[in-house]
Amino acid sequence: MLTYAIRRLVLSVPTLLFISFVIFMLLQLAPGDPMAQVPLTVPPEVKQKMREALGVGEPALVQYWKWLVQVFWTEPKVFIDWLTRDSFLLGWLPDTNLYQGELRVISWQTRSPVMDIVLQRIPQTLWVVGLSYVVGVLIALPIGIYSAYRQYSTFDQAGTFVTMVGFSIPPFFTGPLLIVIFSVYLGWFPSIYDTTHVVNDWESFKYQLSQMIMPVMVLALQTTAQLSRYMRASMLDNLNQDYVRTARAKGLSEAVVVMVHVLRNSMIPVITVIALGVPAIFGGAIITENVFKVNGIGQLLITALFANDLPMVMTLTFIFAFLIVMFNLIADILYGLLDPRIRYD
């Protein structure tokens, strides 16, 4: 298992390098010019110098190499410095001072390091998207278990219909629909997510809850729809197995049979699906963040795209790809750990 994990980890390095190269070359083909917004009165030779200052003048491969060095060498140094200086966990260690003022990945929009902006945006995304994923999983699992246990019952039929609907209605429709119903007609929840809101007492906590509930539910509906179908199918596979009959025959209570014997075996594929869904949620949240004006990573990508901010787009897309590759790896390893029948070596 360990050798398998190490082999996969080593293999993921060329994969990620290749993906980053593909994204970089795709962006190189972009017709956009970072100097398009500069006034026409600026003379061309000054524009050319500004372009070179942004690092655009060099050949594509040199630019790619510089980006690689910045992301894989300079940024980790900054991160380690931060860990040993400011972080709570490792702050007692002596300051490492690895970062000596080298050039980091700079956003063309704000002229500040891309990673700093990403770190500012991550908490919002994690709160809304991460919470919605947890809520979705918590709703999906009981629905899946019960509708498999009572297959073809009214609950199962209704559950199948609801998951089908959740599967089919895109978030850019459920979002505005919820806003119309709950913000406009009923006036219960605010339609815009206020990121500057600080929770310090009970009232502000209630407000935070009310502004989070709609984006979280929109995203959770999607998660629930997918996961409860997997859960149901996986439970159905296991409910007819011989070991279930054996468990019942030796007089175990129904609750123990279903919740311990069947559930533990059915969870194996479901857990890998849950792991695989984590990075997809980051990508899929682009639309929901846009609808509810949550200024998370997805919204950052959209604004960077429209502003032709190539370093930002490049770094963000690479972060998404990194998450996908890592969670694929985690899912495979989890599968091997949970299911002793699976041996990779």
Binding site: I19, L27, P31, F172, V180, I286, I287, T317, F320
Partner: protein
């Protein structure tokens, strides 16, 4: 003359022996049933799938002949009749601005909502079908190649894994925003966008089909009839065409329905984010996105395209569900 030569022989000899009673057929045997008839019988039992298929048919038919029945130009501005409400609003609000000249109302520029819906449906369905066909073509091609030719299996499956680990929606957005200008210059604003969206959706959604097809081809390749075909010297491509493709048709059909649903949703999402078709060209996603700013006063402008997208996708998904059941020989006939 009777049916078989043996009987003729017996008749000719003139000594007809009565068959033993237990061996005689009791009545005419049921005629052999074709596979597709069985599939259809099973499919008909799935009510959701029937309704989904009917609705998909209805929508496709509606957007195809709709412009001939409701001839109003979706892009024509009728500024005197702007912001009209749908005709059913008159049921509870007698002061609402309604009229039979715009049965579903008109938008803030006076464009007719019904003809916009029809035109938008045309765009969405065209993109959906084309992107689905493209992704099926790539997926089946890669899957069959990887499954049949051992040498290609490794590289092609690595390629599939690589595509699966690409962040799809961000890349779609990147590709669409980056290549909009050159394609527009070459193929016109609408044609360029159509080619671009179909290509990027097709290129980024073929991986599940390829995986399923490869798995099935790997299993079928080892069966005796393929061995027999190979032993009489059939060329590999003939084997693929005659023996493998018909046998992997069912998973391809199921993933085709899923692909159609994904393509429609992706196109609408791109339009919703403002990177889709040009602003005067109606699609369902664009209508929805334009209406969000005014949804407090005119909720129907969000609801109509939203419901159209959702119902179409719901219908396609149910159709896929029913097809999966009907095409699975283990479930069929139970």
């Amino acid at each position: 003359m009777t049916d078989s030569p043996q009987d003729d022989l017996i008749l000719a000899e003139g000594a007809r022996v009565a068959p033993i009673e237990a061996l005689k057929d009791k009545g005419p045997m049921a005629p052999p049933r074709s596979k597709w008839r069985d599939v259809w019988e099973q499919f008909r039992k799935h009510k959701g799938a029937m309704m989904g298929a009917f609705f998909l048919f209805f929508i496709t038919f509606g957007v195809l002949i709709g412009p001939y029945l409701w001839t109003l130009d979706p892009q024509a501005l009728d500024i005197r009749n702007k912001d009209m409400r749908p005709i059913y609003t008159a049921l509870w609000n007698s002061e609402a601005k309604v009229g039979w000249n715009h049965p579903l109302g008109s938008d803030q520029l006076g464009r007719d909502n019904l003809s916009q819906l029809i035109a938008g449906g045309r765009a969405s369905m065209a993109v959906g079908w084309a992107a689905m066909l493209l992704s099926l073509l790539i997926g089946t091609g890669v899957g069959v190649m990887a499954g049949y030719f051992k040498k290609l299996d490794g590289p092609l499956m690595r390629l599939t894994d690589l595509f699966l680990s690409l962040p799809i929606l961000p890349l779609l957005l990147v590709a669409v925003t980056l290549f909009r200008q050159p394609l527009r210059a070459n193929f016109g604003p609408e044609g360029g966008m159509f080619i671009l969206i179909v290509t990027v959706v097709g290129i980024t959604s073929w991986m599940p089909t390829a995986r399923i097809v490869r798995g099935d081809v790997l299993a079928i390749k080892e069966r005796e009839f393929v061995l027999a075909a190979r032993s009489i010297g059939t060329q590999p491509f003939k084997i693929i065409k005659r023996h493998l493709l018909p046998n992997v048709l069912s998973p391809i059909m199921v993933s085709a329905t899923l692909g159609l649903a994904t393509a429609i949703i992706t196109e609408s999402a791109l339009s919703f984010l403002g990177v889709g078709f040009p602003s005067d060209f109606p699609t369902w996603g664009k209508m929805l996105a334009d209406a969000v700013a005014r949804m407090e006063d005119f909720p129907e402008r969000v609801l109509l395209p939203g419901v159209a997208i959702s119902l179409t996708v719901l219908g396609v998904n149910y159709l896929g569900d029913g097809l999966r059941d009907a095409l699975d020989p283990r479930i069929r006939g139970r």
